[in-house]
Assembly symmetry: C2
Homo-oligomer: 337 residues x 2
């Protein structure tokens, strides 16, 4: 590690001149160049200093999300930013578009102590990069390796969707999903729904479109419509659908399904009821896009931030925080309450 004096000697200038350059005070262009070159040659590295004294003290965190098109991600980021901001933290935003390299880049930032920690919604196998002791909180995703995770009660939400259909006397149910096949909390939505149907001996089927997901959290709606066409070909006969209740893994998928069914002259919710997942609204405090199992987005965000700050401060933090969900009506179910 070079001293200012050594820098001055190599540059052939006075210590005062080096000091001026370091302080951003104007000096002759030639002297400035000499000093900067000496600093480079001697490896007078700012980050080394930072790492020594200011480790875990950048007051900057990062959040990784696949996109902001999906309102769930946008609102999650909004509340994460607010929770960090109220604690004096700045937030780096990484939109991964499902790109594993970009996700790993941010994990590297954390390793270099350029950010204190990361909150991530990731769809790639990046667990090998998340080393033990690195402050990292994952939303909705269990990594194979032990990673701190915050999630809503996905299993309970699926079960809840089943109870809503049962109360409305539905007799033939369908679960439709898209999404990553990586071990994740969202898989449990379907499992909770199926377990409820089995427990009540309600007929159900599953339409699994996992292969359609483009890994960036966005559904390709043309391919989804093509899938619907194939699947519903023999399920909609003479304007009647053999299902009277359909649960989907997300609200956007529910919206697309509603549009699709209406084009086939199936009336929602009179003929077929639909329940999505997430609880997205058309606008703030506005109507829900569809009837849905709503996630508590602000609370999920705050929990992620609390847990991450706990990890940064080397406190003990629970490995999994699971928050409750609620059913919300959005016009795609019959009111039976």
């Amino acid at each position: 590690m070079a001293t200012v004096k050594e820098v001055a000697e190599m540059a052939g200038v006075s210590v005062g001149t080096v000091s001026k350059v370091l302080n951003g005070i104007q000096v002759g262009e030639k002297n400035k160049e000499k000093v900067e070159q000496a600093i480079r040659v001697l490896g007078y590295e700012i980050n080394v200093y930072a790492r020594g004294l200011r480790a875990q003290n950048t007051y900057t965190a990062a959040v990784i999300v696949p996109n902001l098109y999906n309102q769930f991600f946008a609102l999650f980021v909004e509340y994460v930013e607010k929770a960090f901001s109220s604690r004096g933290y700045k937030l780096m935003l990484c939109i991964s578009s499902g790109d594993a390299k970009k996700e790993v880049d941010y994990i590297t930032l954390s390793r270099q102590n350029k950010v204190d920690g990361i909150i991530g919604i990731t769809y790639n196998d990046i667990e090998q990069y998340v080393t033990e002791g690195m402050p990292f909180v994952s939303l909705d995703r269990h990594f194979i390796q032990q990673v701190h995770c915050v999630t809503c009660d996905n299993y309970g939400g699926g079960w809840m969707a089943g109870t809503v259909f049962a109360k409305a006397h539905c007799k033939s149910l369908l679960y439709v999903r898209t999404g990553s096949d990586l071990s994740g909390e969202t898989m449990k939505r379907g499992r909770g729904f199926e377990d409820y149907c089995k427990s009540k001996q309600i007929r159900f089927e599953v339409l699994d479109m996992h292969d359609i997901d483009d890994q960036n959290g966005l559904d390709d709606h043309n391919r989804i419509y093509a899938c619907f066409d194939t699947f519903f070909k023999d399920k909609i006969v003479n304007g009647k659908c053999i299902f009277d209740g359909i649960f989907t893994s997300g609200d956007y998928l529910a919206l697309m399904l509603k549009e699709y069914l209406e084009k086939q002259e199936i009336v929602v919710p009179q003929d077929v009821q639909i329940i999505g997942f997430d609880g997205l609204q058309l606008y703030k405090d506005g109507p829900y896009m569809v009837s849905s199992i709503a996630q508590p987005i602000p609370k999920l965000a705050e929990k992620c931030v609390d847990n991450l700050l706990g990890l940064i401060q080397k406190e003990e933090v629970e490995m999994l925080s699971m928050l409750p969900v609620t059913f919300v009506e959005g016009g795609t179910t019959k009111a039976v309450y």
Copy 2:
């Protein structure tokens, strides 16, 4: 500016020990404390160094938006992040919620060279903080002081909405707006619309709800509905609305208006046609929320980033970049094309 040697002298340790602390290599806890204290006392300031050598070289920029609830802001941030990312820049996200203090905080970061520059959608009088020479690009907002601005053709968009109604033979038009009263590009939407109506001698009225805006870019829909009630009391008589075409300053306002009119049993678009502004879609590549004057969001974001990087590199950058808009159909206008 202290040297490492001075730090070592004050701490009563060797230069090697100081070097180790600075390099994050383990030393005795007592020596580490002494060194850290000496560094603090002597004011061996890391940021001063950063300012001198690394000025405008942090490869980090900041974006300020009022919220991410509004899809326009969310998508703008998404494309800003992508444009920066492809150029090796990291992005700090600031959600201002209309809080001027938070906006100013980020401008201070820029002054301290902790970020290279800022792109902002701001609704406060922060122009006194944006000093000359600070890389700052504003979307949609002219500051009193000269600030680089990127915007869509708001005046042309308003004019365009007028032409769409005229083609559909509308006879009685209304412009409804919410939003900040600060000198901004969005004011021009109404002006373009009014100028078109005047030029064609089409009857028009204005419902200005600027006092309803809560300064954070979100419309309070309860207060908006109350305003609608008062305004439309004598404008909807016997199930007939005296207007047959309504242009709104944004898509969310158009959505709320559509819901409101439908509750009054006015049929959209048969009885009243509505055109919003922004061109928001229910989901990526999905149907438009309403018929609208669409902003080219990806291009606006890329232009902001291009212009900001130009300013950072001290190139000459145009003060105002204005991008064209297009009309998109979203079910709230009659197809006449």
